[in-house]
Structures are given as C-alpha cells and as structure tokens.
Symmetry: C2
Subunit: 307 residues, 2 copies
C-alpha cells in the first residue's frame, strides 16, 4: 500500500498517528465506531501559517485600507490607525479581543453572500509578504495528508478555530476538503431581514457574538459538533482547553501539537510569541505524552509548492 | 426499483418530491452538486408530533416535578407552578420565551454528559398521554422515508428546530439517522470548567443563549451549516423565515409544509393553534406553489407502529 503520509519523516509523530488510527479502526478493545471518529483541527498555525500575523488579520488589513476613505474617524483610533499606516506593532498591541472587534467591523454591514464574494476575491489577489504566494497556498502538506488519511479511515474532520467561521468557510472545502458545515469558529451577529420588496437576506452586524478560542473551543465543539472528539490537533495555548476536553473522554485519544521549530522553511516560535504562543500546552503535552510534531525534524515538506 | 416513499399516497406532494430529487440529481440545467444538496427539516410537528404540547416540554414537566422538592420557590411562580400542578394551560399562557427559560432552568447545573444521560433515560421511560408510547416512537414514517430517500440521493439532512439542540442530539441519530453534528437548535450557555483535581467538564448554565425559531432559523442555518439549503420542510409560522431564506437562493428549490389535517390518526390544527400555528406560511405556500402535505390525504401511514 502506498504511504498515506509521504510528507512525514519516519519517527515518533508519524508512528503515533498510524498506531492510533490502526487501533481505533481494527476490531479489538480500542475500536471506535465510525460515527464517533470525530477529529478536530485548529486552523492558524496548525493547518496553515499564522506568521507574521494571522491571515485573517491580513484580510482585515486590506479591507481597512479599502474602507478607510469612508471612515475618517479611524485615522486617530487604534487599532485602525496602525492597520492603515501599516504599523502592525501598534495595531497588535491592542490585544486579541479588540482585533476581533476590528474583524467584526471590517466584516459587517453587508450580506453574508457579499462577504463570501469579498473573501473569495481576496484569496485570489492577496499575497503573503514573505512567501509571495496566495495565502491559501501556505497550508501544511503533512496536515493535508493527515486529514485525508483520517477521512479515508472514516473519521469526520472538523476545523475548530479562533478565526472567523464565515471567513474560513469560503475556502475550507477547496483548500482542506472540509465542507462549510464542518467548520467551527468565532462569529459576529447576523440578522435576517425582509426588504420592502419582499426579498430576504442575512446581514452581518458589527458585533462579536462568539469567540471560539481557549475555553471557548470546547464550548464551540459542544455547540456545533455536539460530541467529544477522539482526535485533536493544535499548536498553541489557545488549543489547550480543546486538547484537555478531548483527552478527558473515555477510550483511546489522540492529542497532537504542531511545534514550530523551522525558521528556515517556515517560522520558529513558541513560549515567547505574541501569535500562537505555545507554553502551558507544551508542558502538559510533554508531561502526558501527547504527540508533539517537531516541524523541522518530522516534516519532509512544509508547503505543497515544495514538491 | 422499490418505491422509496411507500407510506406516501400518490398525489401532488409525493410527485413534487420525486420530481425535484430527479431534477437536481440528473445531468441537466437543474443539476446540483452533491455538496450543495443541503436539506433542512424542522422537528416538532414536521418530523414528530408536537401535540398536546412540545415533547421537550413534557421532558421539562417531568424534570420540574423531579427537581421541585429542592426548589420551594417554584410553587408560587408561573410557569413552574402550572407544570408542578399539571395545570398546563396556566404554564403555557406565559409564552414561548418564558418556556424556553424553564427549559434552560431544568436543563442547567449539570455537565453536558449528565444531561445526555437524563434525556436518554427519559426517552425510555416517559410515554405520550394519548398514544401511550415512548415519545421517540411518535415520528412520522413518511418523513423518515423522505429523509432516507434524500440521503440515498446524496443530500445531507439537517434538523433545524426551535427545540433544544442538546435535547435532540441525544436521539437524532437513532430516531432519524441524523448525526449530532447535523442538528441545529436553540441552546443554553455552556461553560468549560477545570476542577481543582485537574478534571475538566462542560457545565450547562441557566441562561438562554440562542433561540433557533422564526427569524432565528436562517441565522442558525448560517451559523451552523454555513450554506443556504436547497430543500426545506416545516409545518408552522416558526419555519416561515427558514422557508423564505431557502426559497430566495438561485436555482431549483423545494419548499414543503406538513399541514396537520388528521384528527383521527394524529391531530388537526393550523391557524388557531397555540402550538405549531400555521397561518402566514400557509398563505405564502399556497400563493407560491410550495408543497403542502395534507396529512390525511397524502400519508398512507402516520407512525411506524401502524405498519
């Protein structure tokens, strides 16, 4: 049989994946019925790059610039000011919640259909500052293989990300093979409106509704998926609660962390990073024997274009 | 080929279903790719009986009685008082939102796992006052056949109900063949907690978070499914917005309403009913040529046990 994980170097990580899938799919004490084979993946830093800043922030950055002429008040207010002036440090200094607010603002006042079109256009036109490629090409080839391998073994794969759910859904099927309805993420409020002419639409409002990060991840899993995963993969402390919740179920569990150790092919960061900080989850992962992927050592390729 | 809808009498309704499925699955101008074949179904009154009151209310009724000794303050407060004293009229008079609050209260202060166990026990022990059968047997055989028929044609079937999502998920797979992650419904807040001993759990809180009814249904569809259905079935004005939202998409659409016209085998009610009021949606359905199922005329059987 062809190796289902050709971009993974032989080693503990690859072996632990193959062992787990073998155990839960073969008849025996660890067998898990198909409907319980729920696998959840963080997105930023786990399925695609998140440096030098979250890709959705790059999208918001581009949108802020496009919308700035209509919002003179942004000029003097962080984090808008920083985004407009390309002073990312100033913008990022305002913290995650305020960034989600920016995202809500740049994503609001339009129908859900219009928003999807704007995101689609952006995925085609925008390029990553270092890799000079469309953002949706900066996905991890080994993780694509892993998700395909799981699906071939009758797992259902879900994204569970702090990113905006409507943003990710635009490209999740094309890029990851994950349908819209298997994407869980943060969201803004949406309102159903009937126009005087009888037409109806869903309008995106400038209000953060749910933040699917940290302790919000198990909550989001419960709300959207409605059962506890047996397989979870993340890369930061934002995924810690999701990994703990997955680990706490009965029966066999797989807990994985992508450790960014490869400054040459991608980035190297962990405990000190503003974006994708990996500290407590790394400690618990080492203590409990979770699968910690050393990007430099464990991945033969990082991106599909390296082939 | 065996008739996939044997419990449907020949007529407009059965024909419109077969025609629609034929059109969107055959090569031609109306073909719809598999991933877009999203079908949504209301639950109460569309997939199972909702009279003399929503089954989840019967569950809440039983729970209120079980919990009442610990809540002396309920004795003097509606709708608790009415539920405890079996004075449903008084309890129902307080309106839907307050009933959802009761449901939140009777469903809170426990882990999500404990709640699932309580609901499971209830589905096995409780019986419908008129039919003297477990509630989960009072599902509509023709609708079970319809959902199987759609799935055989590569539709993905979802429940989109005003009922509680965690309540329905307990039995949706067993009863309807719909997995937990394809159930959309109302929800209470849930909190992730780490106990001092290191264990983690999701705790249900006594706070309504989202009401998946009326204008909330298209919002729920957008939030949980993330794409517009091409097929929607409901039975009341609570489903009107969902039907309108489904109808407003481009390409072929199927809009269906179950009209309860059979007092003998089930119930007969529409415009004047407190529960499952069907008025405006019936008018629009007739005007626009939606498929309106006349239960008495169109269904050979109502419940599986009639076979």
């Amino acid at each position: 049989m062809a190796d289902p994980l050709p971009s993974w170097n032989d080693g503990t990580a690859k072996k632990s994946i193959a062992d787990f899938v073998g155990r839960v799919t073969a008849k025996g004490p660890d067998f898990v019925p198909e409907e319980e084979r729920i696998a959840v993946f963080d997105n930023d830093g786990t399925l695609w790059t998140e440096q030098p800043y979250y890709f959705q922030l790059a999208f918001a950055f581009d949108r802020i610039r496009a919308l700035a002429p209509k919002h003179p008040e942004w000029k003097d207010r962080q984090p808008f000011k920083g985004l407009i002036e390309s002073d990312l440090k100033a913008a990022l200094a305002t913290g995650e919640k305020s960034l989600l607010e920016v995202i809500a603002v740049t994503h609001a006042g339009m129908t859900t259909d219009d928003f999807s079109r704007i995101v689609t256009d952006w995925t085609r036109s925008a390029h990553h500052p270092r890799f000079k490629r469309p953002y949706i090409e900066l996905v991890y080839q080994p993780m694509l293989e892993l998700m395909s391998f799981l699906r071939a073994n009758r797992f259902k794969t879900f994204i569970v990300s702090g990113g905006g759910v409507e943003f990710m859904r635009v490209f999740a099927e094309q890029v990851y093979g994950i349908p819209a309805e298997q994407v869980v993420g943060s969201s803004g409020a949406v309102k159903f409106e009937r126009a005087p002419d009888g037409s109806v639409a869903l309008i995106k409002e400038a209000k953060v509704e749910f933040i699917d990060d940290k302790e919000g991840k198990p909550v989001g899993i419960n709300r959207f998926i409605g059962r506890r995963p047996i397989f979870a993969f993340g890369n930061s402390d934002g995924d810690h609660a999701m990994l703990q919740y997955t680990a706490a179920g009965a029966g066999p569990r797989f807990l994985g962390l992508v450790h960014h150790t490869d400054a040459e092919r991608e980035y190297a960061y962990d405990r000190q990073s503003h974006i994708g900080k990996l500290d407590k989850a790394l400690d618990e992962g080492r203590e409990r024997g979770w699968t910690i992927v050393d990007m430099k050592r464990d991945w033969k390729l990082v991106f599909p274009h390296e082939r």
